[in-house]
């Protein structure tokens, strides 16, 4: 990431962050089935809304997708951290505790551990880490990711496969030391 890019990220991130959080919450509330949030739809809607306000701020859609994916990662990791901290601060009284009811079904992924593993992956291969961010946190498809990163879909697939295998191994090593 060059200097200009970093600066634009820093100024734009809070805006995208706000917009995405707001949109996500309203999507979730409207969603009939409850769980399945379509991040792609979310990113597109956020893009259109923000574009309408200040079109000159965004270089292009790909640029926006990268920022959006990064924002989503930040939002989730911040929330996960906050929740973690609350769980540790002992709760003596209980009034109405609704946590844990919103279980997302089958598999659970430790987001914080994944975030850290992703940092380690970035040290080995920054492109792969960025790709995982776009796919997993941004919800972009293979084709959208390829477009955003300006590489071929086949390359995206190759990077994705090996990065997933590596991350899965890292997470398992962490949980069973």
């Amino acid at each position: 990431m060059d200097h200009d890019e970093r600066q634009s990220l820093e100024t734009l991130l809070p805006i995208v962050y706000q917009e995405l959080r707001r949109l996500a919450a309203s999507y979730l509330r409207r969603e009939r089935q409850g769980y399945t949030l379509q991040p792609t739809a979310l990113v597109h809607e956020a893009y259109l809304r923000l574009l309408k306000d200040k079109p000159d701020r965004w270089q292009n859609r790909a640029h926006f997708c990268a920022i959006a994916a990064h924002s989503m990662r930040q939002i989730l990791i911040e929330r996960a951290r906050a929740r973690d901290a609350q769980k540790r601060g002992g709760e003596r009284h209980r009034v109405t505790l609704d946590e844990g009811l919103v279980a997302g079904g089958g598999r659970s992924i430790d987001l914080l551990a994944l975030d850290q593993a992703l940092e380690r992956l970035a040290a080995l291969d920054a492109e792969q880490a960025r790709l995982v961010e776009l796919r997993f946190f941004g919800g972009l498809t293979i084709e959208e990711t390829a477009e955003t990163m300006n590489i071929s879909p086949a390359t995206v697939k190759r990077h994705w496969t090996v990065a997933c295998a590596w991350l899965a191994r890292e997470l398992e090593d962490n949980s069973h030391p």
Binding site: A24, A25, L28, R30, E31, R32, Q33, G34, Y35, T36, L37, P39, L42, M72, R73, I75, L76, E78, R79, A80, A82, R83, Q86, G89, E91, R92, H93, R94, V95, T96, L97, D98, E99, L101, V102, A103, G104, G105, R107, I109, L111, A123, L124, D125, V132, R135, F136, F137, G138, G139, R158, T161, V162, C164, A165, W166, L167, A168, R169, E172
Partner: protein, 496 residues
């Protein structure tokens, strides 16, 4: 590991992946000759790939939806709000965060619920909430957590209520179903709280195990009366409520079908939620299944007017009947309010639960009547056959009598058995009937043939009796073909 090394691992990983599974090992051993570390790296990666393929396929926002819904509002702990000194967070839900707080005016500790601004910004909802909180504050009952005040501080709304220290029923359920000695008294307490509210026209709207606490001294307290009203919005498409409350996202199963549909609700919605709660406390399982998906599917069926289709009966028969009545899809078929429900629950305790004349029982009446009538006719005809056994040449009369006696015994026994089942274990009737019915049909058909044969044997000398036998034989056929299926359909006895 260095980026260059990772590059090397990447290349080997993909080359191995492109090969047949059987050829991979040889290939890797060959290519990593003299570098066991590299071999191990690629091998573990391949194994991880095989085992966990697709583990990140669902985007983060899908699996962590709950994280987004939580309000990012900063903690109020330690702040002074009006006359409240805010303490630790003691709970959080979709509607807001709950703190323990000290009311400095009155010197008492309260639970202070900071309502999420999203729910209180709209003036219509705000007005409604104010009204509800006012009426909830008027409720005074040992099993209701008292609402002290609705406070507006710096434009935000807070509800101060009795601080209840104990365990929620959800937490109790984590250890399994409630013991039989505990079950009924707990349900009676909850129903009594609801009844007290319903008598004053207040509906809870969000009864669930999370909202009921058992204090350390054993007293049961129902929390948050009327609060769910703020979530009921005017736009309300289907299922809005369910996610708008946020917390209910994974547990829509406590809402009555009419409530899920976004319509106006009354006390009967609480009765429905009570039914679900009762079932859950008795079995430690949600009546509509284990995962949110199946619960949602069953709720959708209920919204379309289906029946709850409960898989088994509760161990306490009286409670089973009460709980089932609570969970009916049509509000009119439930108890009209918790007052009637409470009366029935109390009579289970004293063993005098009245037989409910539900519409189901009403429809079953014709079916039961049919079973008994056919049984009586069969017995009567066998007796008649005994009387006339000498009218025919020996030994036909006695043979016919014995055949008829055998068939009638089978038919009558089975029919009375079904009738008995319908009275004692109505929930098992459908399956039971499916098993017995082929034998009943066979016995009755043969019996009808026996009447006709006997009629043929005595025709000419005893025409009146022969006519009677023919009539009964034909009637038996008709009952098997027409009346039996009609009454069965009417009674709603179907096989699942």
């Amino acid at each position: 590991m260095t980026p260059a090394r990772w590059q090397q691992i990447n290349e080997l990983f993909h080359e191995a992946l492109d090969r047949d599974r059987s050829a991979r090992q040889d290939f890797l051993h060959h290519r990593t000759d003299g570098d066991p570390e590299l071999l191990r790296e690629v091998q573990t990666l391949l194994r991880s790939h095989d085992r966990t393929e697709g583990f990140l396929d669902e985007p983060a926002w899908g699996i962590a939806a709950d994280l987004i819904l939580e309000s990012p509002a900063e903690s109020l702990t330690g702040r002074l709000l009006g006359s409240y000194r805010v303490g630790a967070v003691i709970g959080r839900g979709g509607m807001g965060v709950v703190y323990a707080a000290e009311d400095l005016r009155l010197g008492r500790t309260v639970a202070l619920k900071a309502l999420t601004p999203e729910y209180t910004r709209d003036p219509v909802r705000r007005e409604r909430l104010t009204r509800e909180a006012r009426s909830a504050a008027a409720l005074s009952h040992p099993a209701i957590a008292t609402v002290f005040a609705l406070e507006e501080i710096d434009g935000e709304l807070y509800i101060a209520s009795e601080l209840v220290d104990g365990q929620t029923l959800r937490e109790e359920l984590a250890a399994g179903a409630l013991s039989p000695e505990r079950l009924l008294p707990t349900l009676v307490d909850v129903a009594a709280a609801l009844a007290a509210a319903h008598e004053r026209g207040i509906v809870h709207r969000d009864l669930k195990p999370e909202n009921v606490i058992r204090r350390r001294d054993g007293q049961v307290k129902v929390l948050d009366f009327g609060l769910a009203s703020i979530a009921a919005s005017s736009e309300a498409p289907s299922f809005t409520r369910l996610t708008e409350v946020g917390v209910a996202l994974g547990t829509p199963g406590y809402m009555a079908p009419e409530q899920l549909g976004g319509g106006e609700v009354d006390a009967r919605a609480d009765v429905f939620a009570f039914g679900v709660l009762g079932w859950e406390l008795a079995t430690a399982e949600h009546p509509f299944g284990r995962d949110p998906g199946s619960v949602l599917a069953r709720m959708t069926e209920l919204m379309d007017g289906g029946s709850p289709r409960l898989s088994r009966a509760l161990p306490v028969p009286g409670l089973d009947r009460v709980v089932r009545r609570c969970m009916r899809a049509a509000p009119a078929e439930r108890y009209s309010s918790a007052v009637a429900l409470l009366a029935d629950l109390r009579s289970i305790g004293s063993g005098t639960l009245a037989e409910p004349m539900t519409s189901q029982a009403g429809r079953l009446w014709w079916w039961k009547c049919h079973q008994v009538t056919i049984a009586v006719i069969n017995v009567f005809m066998v007796v008649a056959l005994w009387q006339i056994r000498h009218w025919t040449t020996r030994p036909y009369g006695s043979v016919m009598f014995l055949v008829a006696l055998m068939l009638a015994t089978i038919s009558v026994t089975l029919r009375l058995n079904l009738w008995f089942t319908s009275r004692v274990h109505p929930e098992t009737l459908a399956g039971h009937r499916a098993r017995l019915f082929p034998a009943v049909i066979a016995a009755d058909t043969l019996l009808a043939i026996a009447w006709l044969v006997t009629a043929a044997l005595i025709a000419g000398e005893h025409d009146e009796m022969a006519a009677l036998l023919v009539t009964v034989g034909v009637a038996t056929f008709a009952s098997l073909v027409l009346i039996e299926p009609a009454t069965t359909r009417e009674a709603g006895i179907q096989n699942h």
